[in-house]
């Protein structure tokens, strides 16, 4: 099954939506969601870079002989990127919790004691 360039469009859209959230949303949690969207877009792009039309998962266990397989490296990279994304998201959310405890708000425009 050929998917054409459609996933690349989706990846670009995900990055664009994520950047929109980072640029225009005031809520810290929504900004974290924006970061996650950008990350998902980049991960999708990474997987698509290694995709071959009609390819199977690159695993030899019970694979059919002579089957086309997609490239395994980008998938390993994406997995690593997802793991890193989990850690960054957890850290960002913890910071959001503590910011809310200190400032009593999640509005990013009110959290600006560090300026100038």
């Amino acid at each position: 099954m050929s998917v054409g360039n459609f996933p690349f469009v989706i990846a670009a859209l995900l990055v664009a939506f994520g950047l929109y959230a980072l640029l225009f949303k005031r809520n810290l949690i929504k900004m974290v969601i924006g970061i996650s969207l950008v990350e998902t877009g980049v991960n999708l792009f990474l997987v698509m870079v290694g995709y071959r039309s009609g390819g199977a998962a690159p695993i030899y266990t019970y694979a059919t002989a002579g089957e086309r397989m997609v490239l395994p490296t980008p998938q390993a990279l994406t997995l690593t990127s997802i793991v890193i994304g989990l850690a960054t998201t957890a850290l960002l959310l913890s910071f959001a919790v503590f910011v809310h405890r200190h400032y009593g708000t999640l509005d990013v425009r009110k959290i600006k004691e560090l300026r100038g």
């Binding site: 980049v42 870079v49 990127s81 890193i84 960054t88 004691e113």
Partner: protein, 536 residues
């Protein structure tokens, strides 16, 4: 070569990582045992960095590789493969030079922390994060693989933000932690996007292989997009104006000894930027535009950093803006070198001859690279003295301090040494590197060196303000704080000695370590590629 020198590159990452995971367990045995353990790990790491660099610079400075998980450490292409597929570490002049900087700063920061964190709880996680950050910085400097580089970049991001927001009871530190983490993650994701583009274009992740591909078939549109993404993302992590907004927050709100290590982290990103511009795109896309982008970043960074420092009333934030402005000098030196190198390449000149003849482009790069080492020592010293000052006076507000020189004589002396050195007052080390940058950038455009010199003078004014505010004034109203404890004074003294040694004998250090590092960048990627693919 004995086994230790062979395995030194990977041990530089593995030993701090081991320490990072073991520290919370050792911490259950008590504070003293844990401090001894962390001190041992940091000392072993620094010794390994010293061993690596000494062995490297003494043996003719040829790049060497270390292949992870292979049958032999120096076999990147087993059984007739064309593309190196294993993750490998690669040591060349520039990476060996950077490991020295990181080792020096982490050594001082960790030993300073032992007395700085004495009364506080939760120290085990602090040291764990510190060692994780160290491992990440060493990894960024030594890796020869693009994706591995991204992993280490994110490790440093997470560890650095953990340290910035470590004191959860301080509200500003939490604000800084969130902001810095968001920007670090965003820039990291754009770096990952660039890596994905390069993988899609060339089907490999090894820096040497990518460089040879780009060098032989020229940079395509996709490569150039990747270059732009890498350039901006890494400039963000290095803290170049106008992408510097996180830097004063980060340096200012982190615990004082960690601010010094964070500067080493920014310098590692700067190293990666130079690696991308000189090695990855060293032949195929050496446009003078690259150099001019760096110079524009540099001019803005120098000027905005120093003028913003002048109006700060928080002593830590003041020093932090000073640290931002110093990144500009490194960018200026290397940017001038890049512009000159592009025009020499276009004219078909032999780069090695130009380096031997001390062409101004090469001298600018020597200055910029030497300034990385000098800046790490001076700004580290300044952050450590600031930590001692804040601890003694209980405030960070310059308007409320004063008279500390009466009680803290040694700290005062160390502050003066650090401030003079960073502001480029002879005979300290900052002058030696700034001298090279001024003279070389004057040849490209007098305007550049005029701004650089004026900003350096203003930086002295900034430190006079900090010195006057914190150390001068009457004894009255002074808390009964005494001199900083010996455990804090010793790391400061070591850094001060380094500053003076680099200042008095710059020729020795430039000849032995700076010139090989500058040549590794200046001559382009052929040697770097040769170490991986063989032949060159």
């Amino acid at each position: 070569m004995n086994a230790l020198t062979v395995h030194a590159p990977v041990l530089l990452v593995a030993v701090p990582l081991l320490g990072a995971f073991a520290t919370p367990l050792i911490g259950k045995l008590g504070r003293r045992t844990r401090d001894l353990f962390v001190g041992l790990i940091v000392a072993v790491t620094a010794a390994l960095a010293g061993l690596l660099a000494a062995n490297f610079f003494a043996s003719g400075a040829a790049p060497s590789v270390y292949v992870l998980g292979g049958r032999a450490f120096n076999m990147p292409l087993p059984s007739g493969m064309m593309v190196p597929i294993r993750i490998l570490f690669e040591v060349d002049g520039m990476s060996a030079f950077m490991t020295l900087i990181t080792a020096l700063v982490t050594l001082a920061g960790a030993y300073f922390s032992f007395s700085y964190w004495k009364e506080r709880s939760g120290g085990s996680m602090y040291y764990s994060l510190l060692l994780l950050l160290t491992a990440g910085i060493f990894g960024m400097e030594l890796t020869g693989d693009m994706f591995n580089f991204f992993v280490f970049l994110e490790i440093t991001s997470i560890a650095a933000c953990g340290l910035i927001g470590f004191r959860v009871w301080l509200r500003k530190s939490q604000e800084a932690g969130f902001k810095v983490m968001t920007l670090y993650t965003l820039s990291g994701l754009f770096v990952l996007l660039a890596i994905a583009l390069l993988y899609g274009q060339h089907g490999a992740l090894n820096i040497g292989f990518l460089a040879s591909q780009i060098g032989s078939i020229g940079a395509s549109l996709v490569d150039k997009i990747a270059l732009g993404l890498l350039l901006t993302g890494l400039a963000m992590k290095a803290g170049a104006v106008p992408l510097h907004m996180w830097a004063p927050d980060a340096y200012g709100e982190a615990p004082a000894p960690m601010s010094a290590v964070l500067v080493a982290n920014s310098q590692a990103s700067l190293y990666a930027l130079f690696r991308v511009l000189f090695t990855l795109f060293g032949v195929g896309a050496t446009l003078s535009a690259n150099g001019w982008i760096l110079i524009v970043f540099a001019m803005l960074t120098i000027f905005v950093g120093v003028t913003m420092a002048l109006v700060q009333s928080d002593i830590k934030r003041l020093i932090a803006y000073g640290a931002v402005s110093q990144i500009g000098y490194m960018l200026l030196g290397v940017g001038v070198g890049l512009v000159r190198r592009a025009s020499l390449l276009a004219g078909g000149a032999a780069l090695a001859d130009k380096a031997d003849a001390l062409d101004y482009g090469f001298v600018a790069m020597q200055g910029g690279i030497f300034h990385m080492l000098n800046d790490a020592a001076c700004i580290g010293l300044l952050f450590l003295t600031t930590g001692a000052v804040i601890r003694a006076s209980g405030t960070r507000d310059l308007n409320k301090m004063g008279g500390l020189a009466h009680r803290m004589k040694w700290t005062t002396i160390f502050f003066i040494i650090g401030a003079f050195a960073l502001a480029g007052i002879p005979p300290f080390n900052g002058f030696a590197s700034k001298f090279l940058i001024y003279e070389a950038s004057f040849k490209l455009s007098p305007f550049l060196s005029v701004i650089a010199i004026l900003s350096s003078i203003m930086l002295l004014a900034v430190f006079v303000k900090a010195f006057q505010g914190a150390f001068l004034g009457s004894k009255t109203g002074l808390s009964d704080a005494g001199e900083a404890p010996f455990g804090m004074l010793l790391p400061m003294a070591v850094l001060a000695l380094v500053v003076i040694a680099f200042g008095l004998f710059p020729g020795f250090f430039v000849d032995t370590i700076v010139t090989p590092a500058a040549r590794a960048l200046w001559l382009g990627p052929s040697e770097y590629i040769g170490a991986v693919l063989g032949g060159g």
